[in-house]
Symmetry: C2
Subunit: 102 residues, 2 copies
């Protein structure tokens, strides 16, 4: 009988999967306060590990939410900061947070 034969694919699925990955919401949240760094994140996120944080950073970067920058000054290091695309997610994220807080 097939009551609803339409395609039920969902545009939000891949974005949700990306954002929900381990340590990603936490990293995104910290990135809202300013550029983040690999080792600093490891210290800020108790229970995290190099591998997962590296993967999270890479995927957030590939998704165009974070921009990786090599800082050649003083003590040579790498920073990740939100892109415009990353910033455009702020309202969504704020809503998710306020919803969770209920």
């Amino acid at each position: 009988m097939n009551e609803f034969p339409e395609d039920a694919s969902c545009p939000a699925t891949s974005l949700l999967k990306l954002l929900a990955g381990k340590w990603k919401p936490e990293i995104y949240r910290l990135a809202l306060e300013g550029p983040v760094r690999f080792n600093s994140l490891l210290r800020q996120l108790p229970g995290s590990n190099k591998q997962s944080v590296a993967v999270a950073l890479k995927e957030l970067e590939e998704a165009g939410l974070l921009q990786k920058t090599i800082i050649t000054e003083k003590p040579l290091h790498i920073e990740y900061h939100l892109t415009e695309k990353g910033l455009s997610l702020v309202p969504v994220f704020k809503q998710l947070e306020s919803f969770s807080a209920e």
Copy 2:
């Protein structure tokens, strides 16, 4: 040195994890159009299976986004419909969808 010793826990994490679970965005999306049913969902979601859909429905219900109702009329069956809490997520979901569409 511990530059940032604050707790970095994130209120959005659990909600994101809930929403990102397999078939959950698709089920939520279909529920926006009206009450959904178990076997009907299985037909509407190609590639899905009883187990995953059952788990998704249970978790969405436990999270208070869906309400399970036994319909005692005509051909006895069960419906899941969005709660007020579930409806309050609509704007978030719409934003996620429009963001994905870019």
